[in-house]
């Protein structure tokens, strides 16, 4: 900051300050002729007053001042004092002009905005103008030239300015300052969420992320009774802790730190399907810990076990024992979604057919059977509907000489069927 260059810049800018007065009949020292005349008159008055006061003391008559120094010298000396007295604000503080200069990218200076009132007027004019660029530069000027409590007071009543400033602070990751301002404004939830957001976005290392989250939860979220995100933050911390522990256990190297609950569940269903409840890696344990919905649990388990071609697991997952050993379907996702997953994982026809039966709408069941190449199922439905024409048409589409082709042919020849057409 103290390089020769900066000093030079400073003097240049104060020079600019002086030149501003040119328009108001002011000479280059910032004093006008009339001002000097008034001042001279004032001095002569004082000198008479002083002589009368000091009349008793060793009085020495003085020679007229101007016979000793030139008027120019006097002007010069007086101008020096006058410079201080002359408050620049009286003539040059015009927020509109300053703002226009900022808007147009012209050189500008905020230094002449000395009084609190002029600073506030400048900020307010910027807010009205809608130029965020100007708003930010003025706030930074305020933070440099006013004490903290005053800046906070000014900001408290100007949310538009706060928003721009908070944005800037987020870019520079000044979390403490953000927290201070938002807490002062009573926006504790915003403060907590903005902090959380900055942490999540800027922390790559999972260990550091975990530490920062713990700290953030303790200082910001724990006190927020009504913040609906607080329990999620807690779960986030718990999951990261779990991932850290699980990852060092043999066979779990592929668990990715900071992956989602369902990714972890997917891993557990893949490698630890048979673990009893309550064990660290058991799928049921995981889904209970994080309150995974029945639908999501069933979907993930179904996808993983189907990919592993463990069709018995799927029966155990989707069917419960009913009365007298009968099987009852217990699913939390639409049956068509179940079928889609099974088909995508190339389930054999007998598995697909088992679940196709649970499609209530017979037309839809027929359509799905055809789409999923469950030929027998499709043929059976057509026979059941006694629709000879449709069955004949379907047969034509089948691969000639294939098993299903003969099956369809056999059905068409069945004497027991009472065809409706």
């Amino acid at each position: 900051m103290t390089s020769a260059k900066d000093d030079e810049a400073f003097w240049n800018s104060s020079e600019k300050l002086c030149f501003r007065f040119d328009n108001n009949e002011v000479d280059q020292f910032g004093v006008s002729k009339t001002d000097i005349d008034q001042l001279l008159a004032g001095i002569s008055n004082t000198s008479t007053a002083e002589t009368s006061l000091k009349s008793t003391v060793n009085y020495q008559p003085l020679k007229p001042m101007l016979s000793i120094i030139s008027e120019k010298t006097l002007d010069c000396i007086l101008a020096m004092d006058k410079l201080k007295n002359l408050h620049p604000e009286t003539s040059s503080v015009q927020p509109d002009i300053t703002l226009r200069k900022i808007l147009l990218g012209q050189p500008y200076s905020l230094e002449q905005y000395k009084s609190l009132a002029s600073k506030i007027a400048l900020l307010d004019a910027a807010i009205i103008s809608g130029d965020g660029n100007a708003i930010l530069i003025i706030i930074l000027f305020l933070t440099k030239t006013l004490k903290r409590s005053l800046v906070q007071k000014i900001l408290a009543e100007r949310l538009d300015a706060v928003n721009v400033y908070i944005r800037y602070l987020s870019i520079r990751m000044q979390i403490n300052e953000i927290t201070d301002i938002l807490t002062m404004l009573g926006q504790s939830t915003d403060s907590a969420m903005k902090t959380l957001h900055i942490i999540i976005k800027n922390t790559r290392d999972p260990d550091r992320l975990l530490n920062k989250l713990r700290n953030c939860y303790k200082t910001q979220f724990s006190a927020l009774a009504e913040c609906k995100e607080a329990p999620f933050v807690q779960s986030y911390i718990k999951l990261l802790e779990w991932q850290k522990i699980a990852k060092v256990v043999e066979g779990n190297e592929e668990i990715e730190l900071n992956s989602s609950v369902l990714d972890c569940l997917r891993h557990a269903c893949k490698g630890h399907w048979d673990l009893p409840e309550g064990k660290l890696m058991s799928p049921t344990n995981l889904s209970q810990q994080y309150d995974v919905s029945s639908r999501q649990y069933q979907k993930v388990a179904l996808e993983v076990r189907a990919a592993a071609k463990e069709w018995d697991d799927i029966d155990r997952l989707l069917l419960t024992k009913g009365w007298l050993g009968s099987k009852k379907l217990q699913i939390y996702l639409p049956i068509e979604d179940v079928l889609k997953i099974l088909y995508k994982n190339s389930a054999p026809p007998e598995v697909l057919e088992k679940y196709l039966k649970y499609v209530d709408n017979i037309e839809r069941r027929l359509e799905l059977s055809k789409n999923m190449q469950c030929f027998r199922m499709a043929i059976d439905i057509l026979v059941q509907q006694a629709d000879r024409i449709a069955l004949t048409e379907y047969k034509i589409k089948l691969q000639p000489q294939s098993e299903e082709y003969f099956y369809a042919e056999g059905m068409l020849r069945m004497p027991a069927v009472k065809w409706k057409n």
Partner: protein, 569 residues
């Protein structure tokens, strides 16, 4: 010679180039030009390499870490966001020898688009680089895309509506100001929203300082709307080709990118695009099919051509046919991609959206969202936001389960997402209210939309597949608000009352001369991004009323783009 509107709009490109050339001229000698990646295509739209070379640019680099440059003089072209600017400063820092002499001529020049943030000067001082670098503004004019669409190609949505930071607003204001110098000032101005009014003030300030248009030209009306004035439009799924194309493929400064093939989506260069862009996608495929057949028969003809015929063919037709083939191939695969992306659920999706607009079947809507939240996160977020807006809010208990499902499927790193959506106003909350469970309850949003005649099914029998209303862009369920405002402005002579009624809308200001629209030219600006559904709907009105339309915005957006940007904040 007549000067057309197109001629005037093409001037913009020349002005942008001139601005850059003026800057280059001031930096004598050879220099390296380092460009931030996302600005490359934009630069490409108004200046060519030969011009850059002519003005001393020796080599052009993409801005990246650890860059090694060849010339001693460098020009960096970057956008105004502080993080990018800081990276440039780091690069410069690494190139300055530790004991460099003071007062050397600066070798580093930073061009910042769309303007130099005042704060950047302070940061440069902080970094100890004052006096060693120069800072200059490069503000390009609107970039002309797809006919009369003008875009700065600089998305400002997140800045304005999430950060509530209007730093970029003057850039848009200056763009509109120069556009008015070229086209004329509006007789009537309609603004909807806070930023729309602010932008008028900014334009006024610039005008006071730099003057206004001397040409006698005037335009009939200027309509400016804040994007958050109508958030339903970007959330709904459009059905027209150009709109869906923007939803599924990457489009960079008017060029569609699909795998390896790239096509400029410009109606002057691509006649197929011109014909299909505003057509519902379901009608596009048969059209392309027909075109492909024609092309095929033309190719067959070549086989039987005589030598002399062949010669004329090669000189006159061949290049055209080649271009046509490439374009046709592009549009066919784009169509295919659209079909694959929306898949068989498209119809259900449309029904769900319709229910949401009409405030019906809430339970089913919520079920649909829950069912697809794992596999289609963006689509479900869009629907969730849509539901929350059209029904005046979603309750805590409704949101709880969806939020939990979302976080479990996509990671707790998304915890701030819902907060961000809420801050923007894309996700609205309301408290539990027993009255809302009544069957005849209707949302305030729905009532207002009905008053503005945005929901065609309420005021007329929705005609199937009939393009008789701008709502066809949403298969006749919704008219984008900006199109309805345009309609009102165009038809003010017939019914002056409707224009007055607009002033009842919050933050809507109408100024200037009313009566009939003259000249019949309207400029529209959407602050925060315009969607293709809006463009298509407004073009529909342009065609049916015989006006001329100029559509401007900071960028072209889609619902998915908005949500992706929200995720990336």
């Amino acid at each position: 010679m007549d000067i057309t509107l197109g001629d005037r709009l093409n001037v913009l490109q020349q002005i942008s180039q001139r601005k850059l050339v003026e800057i280059l001229k001031e930096i004598p000698g050879t220099k390296d030009l380092v460009i931030e990646q996302k600005l490359m295509k934009i630069l490409d739209s108004f200046v060519g390499v030969s011009v850059l070379k002519h003005y001393g640019v020796d080599k052009i680099y993409k801005m990246e870490q650890g860059l090694k440059l060849s010339n001693s003089q460098h020009i960096f072209l970057v956008s105004s966001d502080l993080i990018t600017c800081k990276r440039v400063l780091d690069q410069i820092q690494s190139e300055i020898p530790p004991n460099s002499k003071p007062h050397v001529q600066p070798y580093h020049h930073i061009l910042v688009a769309p303007f130099v943030p005042a704060i950047l000067n302070l940061i440069i001082e902080e970094e100890g680089l004052s006096g060693l670098v120069t800072l200059q503004t490069l503000s390009w004019e609107f970039i002309r895309l797809d006919g009369n669409i003008l875009s700065l190609e600089n998305s400002m949505f997140i800045d304005f509506y999430y950060h509530k930071d209007t730093t970029l607003l003057p850039a848009l204001g200056r763009g509109l100001w120069s556009l008015q110098l070229i086209l004329g000032s509006p007789k009537l101005t309609v603004t909807l929203g806070k930023h729309s009014q602010q932008i008028l003030k900014i334009m006024d300030s610039v005008r006071q300082c730099l003057g206004s248009s001397n040409i006698e030209n005037e335009i009939g009306a200027l309509i400016i709307m804040d994007r958050n004035y109508d958030l339903v439009t970007p959330l709904l799924t459009p059905v027209t080709y150009a709109a869906l194309l923007h939803e599924v493929i990457e489009i960079n400064v008017g060029t569609g990118i699909l795998g390896k093939s790239q096509v400029k989506l410009d109606p002057d260069k691509d006649k197929i695009y011109e014909e299909v862009r505003d057509t519902p996608c379901s009608e596009v495929f048969p059209f392309l099919h027909k075109k492909a057949k024609l092309l095929k028969s033309e190719q067959n003809k070549i086989q039987t051509m005589k030598l002399s015929e062949m010669e004329t063919y090669v000189t006159t037709q061949l290049q055209k046919t080649r271009d046509l083939t490439q374009q046709l191939a592009f549009h066919i695969s784009a169509c295919q991609l659209i079909a694959d992306t929306l898949s068989s659920d498209f119809q259900t999706l449309q029904e769900i959206e319709k229910c949401m607009l009409e405030c019906k079947e809430r339970k089913e809507c919520l079920n649909y969202i829950e069912r697809y939240v794992d596999d289609h996160p963006l689509r479900t977020l869009r629907l969730l936001c849509l539901l929350s807006i059209t029904s005046d809010g979603i309750t805590q208990s409704e949101l709880d389960s969806i939020q939990k499902l979302y976080l479990h499927a996509h990671g707790y790193k998304h915890i701030p997402l819902f907060y961000k959506l809420q801050s923007i106003g894309l996700l609205k909350y309301r408290s539990e209210n027993i009255l809302h469970k009544l069957s005849n309850w209707n949302s305030e949003w729905n009532n207002n939309a009905q008053k503005l005649k945005l929901l065609p099914s309420y005021f007329r029998q929705a005609k199937q597949k009939n393009h008789s209303c701008p709502s066809y862009v949403f298969s006749n369920v919704y008219v984008p608000l900006i199109a309805q405002i345009l309609n009102t402005v165009v038809n003010q002579e017939k019914d002056s009352k409707i224009l007055d009624e607009l002033t009842n809308l919050p933050n809507c200001v109408i100024s200037g001369q009313r009566g009939s629209l003259s000249p019949k030219m309207v400029m529209i600006c959407v602050i925060g991004g315009i969607t293709y559904a809006e463009i298509t709907a407004c073009r529909f009105i342009e065609k049916s009323t015989g006006i001329q339309l100029i559509l401007t915005s900071d960028s072209i957006i889609t619902g998915n783009k908005i949500l992706e940007k929200v995720q990336d904040i």
